[in-house]
């Protein structure tokens, strides 16, 4: 496992003199670590150079604030710089004055265009629009069929064309007519994947653009992209003038440094992120979360939002009260596990956790669904008194619980350990600490104290 940037910086500053101030001497080793972290996150090396320069400038001579260690302060400077570069606020979609607005979805092969087209359609629909879909990928086998199948499953209309319509231009002309006739206000155009150096296919996109005058040209980029992101995104932008970016496959563990490269080379805002294969796994882009992720600090805010969304604010508040009062019992733990299962696959939840502090160990825990079932079975085999006070669960009780739940004493021991860990982790969300303080400021109901 790689150390996180915070760990590394902590070590750098521990070994340096003059800790009270960020000086030229102690900053150099810190900057080296930052450089490596950014490169490992796939930020383009020229963009890294620029960033390092501006971080150096910002950091020089700053007094270290009481609340922070020098390492924390440097992390904060880096983070703020990344957020600034990623765009400090969410950007909205643009629409044409006269409907239908056309939106062109473009990008390299396999980046996630077709899926994102469907996700965007769904998102638009939820926000009061009435999109019509069309695929102009006349090249890849079964590409148009793919969008048609998805459209059917999300119950949105799609223009599938006639047998005579063979070219993208013919298809969009008719699709636009259909949008007008059926009163749809947005036409979403899924295009074939192409290389930015493919002159014929880039010309095709320009023709589509000239025909449609789209209100958005969205470039779909895979979060796993490496150093080539500056070339591909840059070239799409030069040749086409993109108006925004959708960053896909953020449900994995890629750091997503390409976001910085793309933003810096095109200057265009990141608008959405794709977080899964299903049509609902789509969110507006959050610069702060992405910055955290690039720095390996996880995505705590997404996690908390997700919890709130699914567990409900009241439950969340109740849980927090219990945590603070040390009343978080095994029964609560079981309920919480049940609720967490509703959030989706556990690893995607754990993937959002920061690599910091007590949560670090939890991240390495590989939880499978069977394991969850087992845990719930074990807790179910306890008496109410045991559930309310885990301290009384001695050896004999453990044996009985194991037998009752068809597990082993080892399993019961593990569970009790996990329970203790979770209590600790949840406390660090709500209590003090670097994160706790930051989060408390954000006035999330769950975190108000």
């Amino acid at each position: 496992m790689f150390d996180t940037l915070s760990d590394k910086l902590q070590r750098v500053f521990k070994n340096l003199r003059g800790e009270g101030k960020l000086t030229a001497a102690n900053m150099e080793s810190a900057l080296r670590e930052i450089r490596v972290a950014l490169l490992e996150a796939d930020v383009h090396f020229r963009v890294v150079k620029q960033l390092i320069e501006s971080i150096r400038e910002k950091a020089m001579g700053q007094e270290v604030l009481d609340a922070f260690s020098p390492a924390q302060q440097v992390v904060k400077i880096v983070r703020d710089e990344l957020i600034k570069m990623l765009g400090s606020h969410q950007s909205r979609l643009r629409f044409a004055n006269e409907p239908p607005s056309a939106m062109l979805i473009v990008g390299l092969q396999g980046s996630g265009k077709t899926t994102s087209t469907a996700k965007l359609a769904r998102w638009l629909e939820k926000n009061g629009h009435s999109p019509l879909l069309v695929s102009v990928d006349v090249y890849r086998p079964a590409a148009r069929e793919q969008l048609a199948v998805i459209a059917r499953s999300i119950k949105l209309p799609i223009y599938t064309g006639t047998p005579e319509e063979k070219t993208p231009l013919e298809l969009v002309r008719s699709a636009r007519r259909e949008a007008v006739q059926t009163g749809r206000d947005v036409l979403l155009v899924d295009t074939a994947g192409r290389l930015h150096i493919d002159e014929a296919l880039m010309t095709e996109l320009r023709e589509l653009r000239d025909l449609l005058s789209p209100s958005e040209i969205l470039f779909v980029a895979d979060a796993m992209t490496g150093q080539d992101a500056v070339k591909s995104a840059g070239e799409f932008h030069n040749q086409l003038g993109i108006s925004g970016v959708i960053l896909t496959k953020m449900d994995g563990d890629a750091r997503g440094g390409a976001a910085l490269s793309i933003r810096s080379v095109t200057g265009q805002p990141l608008k959405f992120t794709g977080t899964g294969e299903k049509p609902d796994a789509f969110e507006p882009f959050h610069p702060d979360r992405t910055a955290n992720r690039i720095l390996g600090m996880g995505d705590v805010l997404s996690f908390i939002e997700k919890v709130e969304e699914n567990i409900g604010q009241k439950n969340a508040e109740e849980m927090q009260r219990k945590l603070l009062d040390n009343e978080f019992t095994l029964a609560d733990f079981r309920d919480q596990l049940r609720q967490i299962r509703k959030l989706g696959p556990l690893e995607s939840i754990l993937g959002m956790m920061p690599d910091l502090g007590p949560m670090k160990d939890l991240k390495n825990v590989k939880v499978d669904e069977k394991e969850l079932t087992r845990i719930v079975a074990i807790i179910d085999s306890m008496t109410p008194r045991e559930r309310n006070n885990h301290m009384i669960i001695n050896g004999a009780r453990r044996r009985r619980i194991a037998k009752g739940s068809g597990t082993t004493v080892q399993d019961v021991n593990n569970l009790l350990k996990q329970y203790a860990q979770t209590r600790k982790m949840m406390k660090s969300f709500t209590g003090g600490g670097f994160l706790g303080k930051r989060l408390a400021k954000l006035k999330l109901p769950m975190l108000q104290q």
């Binding site: 090396f45 890849r140 086998p141």
Partner: protein, 327 residues
């Protein structure tokens, strides 16, 4: 002089494609343009080997997605030689880098598993959108051209129209495909395909799988199950597990390789989309860390755009003059 190249197959080597080197050069022209030209830029007009120059070289490697660690290791080796005055002048640096890359790729080369009794089973895995289905289509055409019989297995039952996509490739290659309905258990489809292949004495079964991110435990477990199914029906199967990596992938590719190796026993890598400008350097890092050979490279979307990977030819085409003259 007529060149005859040997292509490794599961059944041994077959001579093929005298013009491989030319096609390789044409296919990776853009890759070459970026990487070697940058390298040459860095070296041009320099007389002295100093820290600046070495750092510039390191960035060239990092820019090819080789990764900080691997780039650093390669450069460290060179630095030591420079310190011991073993490097005379700047022009030698290019050769040193070339040798170092070649050494890594050659060290990872290994022959394919021996097939006791057909069918040879090839399982194709990787993250979403890497190029698995296309690679299978290309492989099927290639095996057919070698005169082998092939059966495809539509193991991606999840993504919309994935079965139709493979069906079209099967038709192009003139081979049969075993399928079930969308949503079916991929292991069940594989089971059917392997039974059919045994009954019909087919040489190769190539199984498609749904793209999946390596972080999704339950989906990774599904691949483990497919492996088990394969070995139950055909002893020794799967004989080859190809991990498809998109050349545009950055450092996440290494983690992909680790996790897919853990759960599905990867035996080799296919590096796709090398016809773009991306260098695919993460495959070097994968070879270095996990010892997986690169088996093929993808250089386009047509059936013939899959080339067998041979380290020396690949590196030669990367480093030699763009003219089509064979060394």
């Amino acid at each position: 002089m007529k060149q005859s190249l040997m292509i490794q197959t599961l059944f041994g080597a077959v001579p093929q494609e005298p013009n491989l080197l030319d096609r390789l050069k044409a296919g990776i022209q853009k890759t070459r343009a970026g990487f070697v030209e940058r390298l040459e830029d860095a070296l041009a007009g320099r007389k002295e080997i100093d820290a600046d120059l070495l750092e510039e070289l390191e960035f060239t490697l990092i820019g090819a997605d080789i990764g900080v660690t691997t780039a650093h290791e390669i450069l460290e080796g060179i630095r030591q030689r420079v310190d011991r005055r073993l490097v005379g002048d700047v022009s030698e640096l290019k050769l040193l880098i070339r040798d170092s890359l070649l050494e890594t790729l050659q060290a990872a080369e290994r022959p394919m598993a021996h097939v006791e009794e057909p069918p040879a089973v090839v399982l194709v895995v990787g993250v979403n959108g890497a190029g698995k289905t296309t690679t299978i289509g290309k492989l099927a055409s290639r095996y057919r051209a070698e005169g082998r019989s092939v059966l495809l297995c539509a193991g991606d039952t999840f993504r919309a129209a994935a079965i139709e996509q493979l069906a079209i490739w099967a038709e192009r290659a003139g081979v049969d495909m075993v399928r079930q309905s969308p949503g079916a258990d991929p292991s069940a489809v594989l089971f059917d395909a392997l039974q059919a292949a045994r009954a019909r004495k087919i040489d190769y079964v190539i199984a498609d799988t749904a793209g999946r991110l390596h972080t999704k435990t339950n989906l990774m477990a599904e691949l483990e199950k497919m492996r088990r199914t394969a070995s139950r029906v055909v002893p020794g199967a799967p004989h080859e597990v190809l991990l498809v990596i998109d050349a545009t992938t950055g450092q996440n590719g290494l983690e992909q390789a680790r996790r897919f190796t853990e759960t599905s026993g990867v035996t080799g890598v296919v590096l796709t989309k090398l016809d773009g400008t991306a260098k695919g350097g993460v495959a070097v890092a994968i070879a270095r860390e996990l010892g997986h050979p690169i088996r093929y490279v993808g250089v386009g979307e047509k059936a013939e755009d899959l080339l067998p990977f041979e380290p020396d030819k690949f590196i030669d085409s990367l480093f030699s003059a763009p003219a089509a003259s064979a060394p």
